[in-house]
Every structure is written in C-alpha cells, then in structure tokens.
C-alpha cells in the first residue's frame, strides 16, 4: 500500500478501518487492500489501511477534501446489508452506534473539526457484519460481497472525479 509523503497533493483519502483479527470486523481493511490490487490509484487519492488507529490517522487527513471510510457497521440490519452514509450522518452515526473502534475515528474527526481541517465531503461505505469472532478470514456471508463493496468504493471515487483504471 502506498505512502504519500506529500499530503498536500492528496485530495481524497480512502480509509479502511477495522480489526483484521476479528473476522468481519476487518472488512474495511480487506476492501481497501483489494481496491489497490484491482485498480491503478491516481496520485491525488491516498488509500490507507487504518486498522484500529484513531488519532494517529489525523496526519493523513490534513488538507483532504474528500474522506471515504470503509468499515463494518452495526446498523441492526441483516448480516451482509450494505450501508452508505454521507455528510453529517457519518460522525453522528459513529458517535452513537458501534463500530468497535468508535472511540478512535470519531475523536479523530472531532479533532479535525477543532483544528479546522475537516474534509468537505465524507462518505462511509459499510456492511453489517455476520461474525466478530476471532479469526483472520471474513465470514461466508461477507466474503462474497467484497467485489460489490470494492465497486461501491470505486464508484464513489469516480463520482468525486477520479479516474480509476483496472490493473490488467
């Protein structure tokens, strides 16, 4: 996964978050890993495996216009249900509902707001997890949804004007 040393060039940050030791909890990380395997990512887009980090991610948010979060989301839906949230829904949702690292990313966003480096656009693509058991693999319910989720993320990036070409 690439590291961009010049954050001022980055317009859009794609942040996969979650704990890859807890099966579907790590879906956000698996999605962004797959995204960079399938597509050439333009230089103004940074794709990051955020793991379970919170405040440490603030560095990558600096100067970013668009933030796309990918995560497992407890939305009280059927396992495998896809969820898209945008704008004010995202931090509001994060501050009330669980994502198990809820005390990390929302705090990061609030700190960004306090510092005046809050992104103009925020979108969250998530999925209702089927399993949060200890394990490195996604559950049988969530694993088949990976390509769909990657396409949702790619589609979102195209909406923001980025050109993604498939890696041959």
């Amino acid at each position: 996964m690439k590291i961009v040393a010049e954050p001022n060039k980055v317009q859009t940050l794609v942040l996969g978050v979650g704990n890859t030791l807890l099966s579907d909890e790590g879906v956000g990380v698996h999605v962004v890993e797959r995204l960079v395997k399938l597509y050439n990512i333009p230089e103004e887009v940074q794709v990051l495996d955020g793991g379970t980090l919170g405040m440490d991610l603030l560095y990558y948010l600096e100067g970013v216009e668009n933030l796309l979060l990918v995560d497992a989301v407890e939305a009280h839906r059927e396992p495998g249900a896809l969820i898209r949230l945008s704008g004010d829904e995202v931090p509001a949702f994060l501050s009330i509902k669980i994502s198990p690292h809820q005390l990390g990313v929302p705090d990061m966003l609030a700190a960004a707001k306090l510092k005046g480096s809050f992104p103009q656009n925020i979108v969250l693509w998530g999925v209702q997890p089927a399993s949060l058991e200890v394990g490195l693999e996604l559950s049988e319910t969530i694993a088949p949804l990976m390509d769909t989720l990657v396409e949702k993320v790619a589609g979102e990036l195209r909406q923001w004007g980025h050109v993604l070409s498939p890696i041959a």
């Binding site: 996964m1 590291i3 040393a5 704990n19 890859t20 030791l21 807890l22 909890e25 990051l48 495996d49 955020g50 793991g51 379970t52 980090l53 919170g54 405040m55 440490d56 991610l57 603030l58 560095y59 600096e62 407890e74 931090p91 501050s95 009330i96 509902k97 669980i98 198990p100 690292h101 809820q102 005390l103 990390g104 929302p106 705090d107 966003l109 609030a110 700190a111 707001k113 306090l114 510092k115 005046g116 949060l132 200890v134 394990g135 490195l136």
Partner: protein, 581 residues
C-alpha cells in the same frame, strides 16, 4: 455507602470498567474489569513463528509497533538469534520516538482533561495567559493574540454542540483547580500537540516503509535496507530528516510538555499523596546498547523501597484466573506463560447489568504476578527502577523535578508521580533519540550496512525441533512480554502479557488486589455522580485495553456511562448521571 460503576473509562481505546465502593467521600473498595474477551493467542497456534509479529501488531491500534517488536524478539530468543548492530539501533529509534509521541499524546489528549477544565478556558484573559506562558517557557507561541485566536476557535467549537473529545467530561467539577489562564494555555498546547505528533511520527514512515502499520520488522533484524547510495534505502538524507524531526520533538518536550507539567503540578500537590497503589514496580528494561546494557535498566522494587533493586527472573512470572473468566484445572495456582492457557469461560452477568459479581469472577483480564506479588508497570516503574539503579540521566532529571516542586521522593508513589514520571521519561528519551541517530550514522559511515543476521536461522530446517522464547520490551504503557513455544517449526503456544494486564489485574487466588484497584483505595470522591478523581488515577496509568482484550462491545450503543446507586438497598432504581441520589 454507595457503589459506582464507570464503563468505559478510557477516552480513546478499549473497554475498561471500574467499580468502586464509596463511603464518607472516599473509596473503600475497588474492582477493575475488562469487559471484552482476548483471543489473539488462539489465532497464532499452528502458524509459522516468523509471521506472528504481523498478526500481533493488529492487537492494538495504539501500540502496533510494540507488539511486532515483542513478537520478533520472542522468536529470536527461542532461536538464539543475535541481531546486527544496525537493526538494534533502528529498533531503539523506532521505539524511542514511539515513546515520545505516545507520552505527549497521552498527556495532552487523554490525561490533561482530568486536570484542565476546557470550559473554564473560555473565561480566560488572553493577555494573562500570555503572561503565564512567557513566565514558564521561552516557547515562541505565547502572545496574547495567539491565545485569543485559540480561545475564539474553542468558543466556535463548543458553540457547534459537537464536543467530540471534550464530551463526557465533568467540566465545572470542584476538583478542577487551575485558573482560567492556565486552562487556556493547556488547550492551546493540546492543539499544538496534535500538529506536533503528526509531524514527529513521520520518523516511522521514514524507517518503516509503510505507516501506520510498519512493515520493517523481521525475525533476525529489520527489513528496511541501509544503502548510502540508494534513494530507496536508509541513507544520509534519511539520517538528516530524522535529526530534524527529533529536534522538533525535543523542542516541544523541553519547552511545552515539561514546563506545563511543572506549572500544573503545584495546583494538585495533594495528588502526590493519592493513588499510590501496590508499591511494587517492575521494569523489563529497554534500549540495549551494543554490549546489551539497557539504557533503562531491568529489575523490580518492592514496598516502595528505593534502596534495593531486585534482579528479574521471568520464570517467576505467573498468571492467575481465580477472578477471571477463564478456566484452569487448578485455579489456586498461576501458570507461567509458556504453560499458559486461554480457555475462556464467561460466568458473569448478562448485559444489561448494574454491577459485576466481584466476589466471583469479574474480568477478562488475567492476574499476572511476580513471585506471587502484584506489580505496577509503566513509566513510573521504569523511572523508579532506573532511579534506584543510579541511571545518571534519570537520577538527574527526577531530582530536578522533585526540587522544582519542593517535594521528596515519597511524592513519586502517587497519581501525580505517575504523571510526572511519564514526562521525565519523555524528556530523557527525546534527548537520547539524537544520540542513537548519530550512532546509526557513524556505523553507516564506517561501512557497516548489515541490517539482518542472514538466511541460516531464517530457514526453518536449521531450527531445533523444540524451542522456547521470551520477547520482552518496554512499551510506552509498561512491560510487555510475548512468550512463544515452537515445535516442528510451528507455534505450539503463544501468550502475551501486556502492560494493562499487569496494571488492570483483578484479585488473585489470595485476594490480593491489582495495581488499579489498590491505587483507588482511599481516593477522595467529591461527587459520586461525577467520579473525576477515579478517572485521574486510572488515566495516570495510561490504560489501553485493546491489546488485552477482544474489541466486541456487548452493550452496543452505550458510549460512556456512569451508574451509581446506594447499596443500602440494591433494588433501588438505577440513576444515571444524576447528581441527586
């Protein structure tokens, strides 16, 4: 007599629950519980030991590097591998900057809010704040205009209604003692620390090839190549950039962090007599030099006696489960981690519940003991062991801090002592980062570019059929150990005893309290519905439960709650966040 439960207690990571029994305005009994299961060890069984670090570094979002590091050291210990000098120095640098960044974040973004009333900062006079700031440091950001700008920003933020990191706090609590100007100064430094930490941790990106999850660890050395002639390796430019970053790091620590701690402490000197705890301190030691001598020494202290440092035998470490939700065949005895077991068996109440059954099993944390004795780990333990061992930098800096505050060494065994020790350690390590970088530069200049021990012991066919290893490291939060047993080239058993397991330990089979529990005894509580004083002591340990436990939140949507009720009548209605009983 009232019972109070606080859940979760840490501002950033994980799930820690504290229950205290309060009588006549002071804590009479205390229990620490982690309400989530840990299970990482189970994943590791049967895997290639060379891959364990990449898995263990996912155990925690705050301390990824330390688990990777402990894991490679455990495997190196098992396979009797001595890493090259450059790898040793690189590890010291990566770990050292982690300490410095982590401690500053802990102070400003987690702990300061226990002492600093953010809302009171809105009443501050920027001119008075400027005067105060200039009286304690020559840090340039100290004009009245600057503090007015911070105050305006804060007012706008509070006005927006989304308090974020400032939510769920007890603003206006009588235990806050700082004048408004000091509160505003601290808020300004809170904001500056956000920018500062973002910059200094670039050292990890420079050395780790991938951040935030470093990819440079390797059993036998490091993966980042050293090549003075290559742009893709550690070269003279890298060294120059590191020197620049470490200068930035040191400036802030010397001119902001230390002066702030020394300026805030005099308002809270009563906390130099509160929160002492078990009085036994354990350090694994860290930052080996080329002869293997640790910059911060290993050893332990008993009963607050700085006159003697005992040598550590890790085989005397055991973990008990008498009050933990695990099964052993004989729960009266502890187990050394090589023989350790992770057999979860939850017997606690089903949520929602009011209180844990603390006379039985009440936590997912095991109870580590050294020679059957509970031990505190962390910056205070490291500074005390180093101080008692006569480590010159530690001795000098601790003595200077004690003299400045006009207190004796007894003051160290306290909540305030813990907070001051973390700052003292940061000052010393921020200074040492430059020296380690010079050591690396000198090695490279002398033509030594070896970074890995080589392929012989990397190849499993050269391994013994069975091997045991202990990987010990000082993480910012304290002594961290990974124990591995290898059989037929695979992991047979793997146990992690993390700093928060030592500190958040429950009672053992003998009923001895863990460090958090013990430290809370006698803590004054001004307002049972707003137990700020409990948070102060627990936060002074820098709790991070994520690596100790599973991340699933069983309660789902309860972000932060305090429950309390009179135990005179356990059936009394539950009251939440309400000042009148």
């Amino acid at each position: 007599m009232a019972r109070i439960a606080i859940d979760p207690i840490s501002r950033i990571e994980g799930h820690l629950r504290i229950e205290v029994q309060v009588d006549e305005g002071a804590v009479k009994d205390a229990w620490a519980s982690s309400t989530m299961f840990r299970g990482i060890e189970i994943i590791l069984k049967g895997r290639d030991p060379r891959d364990a670090w990449a898995i263990t570094q996912r155990a925690c979002g705050v301390c990824t590097t330390v688990h990777a590091f402990a894991s490679v050291r455990a495997v190196e210990d098992a396979l009797k591998i001595t890493i090259p000098n450059n790898a040793r120095i690189l590890r010291n640098i990566i770990e050292g900057i982690q300490f410095v960044q982590d401690h500053v974040i802990h102070f400003y973004h987690l702990h300061a809010l226990d002492w600093v009333d953010v809302v009171s900062a809105l009443d501050a006079d920027p001119a008075a704040t400027s005067e105060l700031a200039q009286s304690i440091s020559d840090w340039p950001k100290s004009s009245a205009d600057y503090f007015k700008g911070v105050k305006d920003k804060l007012a706008a933020f509070v006005g927006s209604g989304q308090l974020g990191p400032f939510a769920n706090a007890y603003w206006g609590h009588p235990a806050y003692k700082l004048p408004p100007a000091a509160n505003l100064m601290a808020v300004a430094h809170y904001l500056e620390a956000l920018d500062w930490q973002r910059d200094v941790i670039r050292a990890h990106a420079l050395l780790g090839s991938k951040n935030p999850h470093l990819q440079t660890y390797l059993v036998g050395g490091m993966a980042t190549p050293i090549d003075p002639t290559s742009q893709a390796a550690i070269n003279a430019d890298t060294i120059a950039m590191l020197k620049g970053l470490f200068h930035t790091a040191k400036e802030f620590v010397d001119k902001v962090y230390l002066p702030d701690v020394l300026a805030i402490a005099p308002f809270y000197l009563d906390w130099a007599a509160i929160g002492g705890g078990v009085g036994n301190y354990l350090a694994y030691g860290e930052f080996p030099d080329k002869d293997g001598t640790q910059f911060l020494p290993q050893g332990y202290i008993l009963n607050k006696d700085l006159g003697k440092v005992y040598p550590l035998d890790h085989k005397k470490i055991t973990e008990h489960v008498a009050h933990s939700w695990y099964e052993y065949d004989d729960e009266k005895k502890g187990k050394h981690p090589w023989e350790g077991e992770t057999r979860p068996k939850f017997t606690g109440p089903q949520p929602p519940y009011k209180f844990l059954e603390t006379d039985q099993k009440y936590t997912w944390m095991k109870a580590p003991r050294l020679n059957e004795t509970p031990m505190e780990v962390g910056p205070l333990a490291r500074m005390l062991v180093a101080y008692a061992s006569g480590q010159p930098q530690v001795k000098q800096t601790v003595d200077l801090a004690l003299k400045t505050l006009g207190v004796g060494a007894d003051a160290l065994f306290s909540t305030l002592g813990r907070t001051a020790a973390r700052c003292i350690e940061t000052v010393i390590l921020a200074d040492q980062l430059g020296a380690w970088t010079d050591e690396l530069a000198a090695n490279i200049k002398a033509g030594d570019i070896q970074i890995h021990v080589g392929s012989e012991m990397w190849d499993p066919k050269n391994w013994p059929a069975e091997a045991d290893g202990w990987g010990h490291i000082e993480a910012p939060r304290g002594a961290l150990g990974h124990w591995v047993k290898i059989k037929d080239q695979k992991i047979l058993n793997y146990q992690m005893v993390v700093p928060s397991t030592w500190n958040c330990s429950p009672r053992d089979a003998k009923g001895q309290q863990g460090p958090y529990e013990s430290a809370l005894m006698g803590t004054p509580i001004a307002d049972e519905a707003k137990p700020l004083e409990v948070l102060r002591t627990i936060h002074s340990f820098d709790p991070c439960m994520a690596c100790g436990v599973h991340l699933l939140d069983v309660n789902g949507d309860e972000v932060n709650q305090v429950t309390f009720q009179s135990t005179d009548s356990m059936s009394a209605p539950l009251i939440r966040l309400s000042p009148d009983k």
